[in-house]
Subunit: 248 residues, 2 copies
Amino acid sequence: MRNLKMTIAYVGTAYSGWQIQPHRPTIQGVLEERLSRMLPDRPRLAGAGRTDAGVHARGQVANFATACAIPPAGLRRGLNAILPPDIAVLEVEEAPPEFHARANARAKDYRYRIVVGEVVSPFDAPFVLQVRGGLDVAAMRAAAGRLLGTHDFSSFCLAGTEVESRVRTLHLSEVAVEGPAIEYRVRGEGFLRHMVRTIVGTLVDVGKGRRRPEEIGAILAARDRRAAGPSAAARGLVLDRVIYGGDR
Amino acid sequence: MRNLKMTIAYVGTAYSGWQIQPHRPTIQGVLEERLSRMLPDRPRLAGAGRTDAGVHARGQVANFATACAIPPAGLRRGLNAILPPDIAVLEVEEAPPEFHARANARAKDYRYRIVVGEVVSPFDAPFVLQVRGGLDVAAMRAAAGRLLGTHDFSSFCLAGTEVESRVRTLHLSEVAVEGPAIEYRVRGEGFLRHMVRTIVGTLVDVGKGRRRPEEIGAILAARDRRAAGPSAAARGLVLDRVIYGGDR
């Protein structure tokens, strides 16, 4: 058996997220179905991150085992020819037998885009959160910085999520101004469900002056989802990159 | 009666073009219907350019007469609140009574995007033509330059189009490399049906070495649609801007 690693980009608007579910369009479901048309077996994909409904990816990673002999470039070409235009396979590579896209991921980069203003360009609309009335970017930056490092992120985790530990480490947590957009960029070793979107919802509260950056410490300490702000809309979020050992 | 000028952006993917048609979704149709919800009368929009099915716009212009007293900013806000996310009104302005979006347009800017390569990002897919196997950009540039100025563009016009004259003037006709994309940019006083897309289809033929830039003169001289290349896909085309007297 070969172990193949795929890097995938998708516009998540039309999908109920990455993870396969019966009777719903999912990225994993479409990819497995298309792969099964090319391979003798229907492979099971292991994805690095389970993006939620409506979340996009520029560099999702998944691996699968197959007995097929098709070279990586041929698999990529064949898959892209039959995939819908909102999903593309950017790369297919041979991976060592022990490689696992989720278990071996050292870190993931997400970014979230916000447009401040009265009008959102229809070219941006599926990819941004619109905020009216201005945001205090300096306050958002200060709040984002206070999330850096290792914390119990229970306050930023979808209530009821069952997981062994809610302690996570962020290596990057910054707010950047990108033309007419404000972008939140985060790199973490792992993320809880709705974590990035809840961080962004809380940063928007800070930007609107509803909370002060100094409150971040107390929000973390509360370990209670009700302490943080609302979860920002899925459409602004993109899984940018998954980082493995040996990556630059 | 007031005369109002609107600047409009849209992603044309889901529409049968600008111009209103029975039983089909059109940009003009959606705008008029939404306007009629806000105004006492259903206004008739005059658009500067009739973009085809699937063509996009970043700066379409239209005007309409109305007896309503709503200020321009209120009309814009109200319209954007009820428009689908793939159409946005960027600006509403009071115009002189004699202003007519089509008749007064001095020039229009279009751009067309091409991506060369094996894989198209799903974020770009609705907005580009994919070309495999490389393009000779220098040859395309030379060919584009030969279209500058005043010519009979019959060879680049949808066959059967009824129009008084097929003579048009191009003030800009250039090929630019923009990251992974090749962009054709054109400014003209007016355009025939399918003219930009047929120019692009012919430039792609030149880029692939199927025709030489020197053949452009003979293609123009033929005044026959069959002399030019195929019409490139609508999705790569954007109406960027409409220029009026007094614009910078």
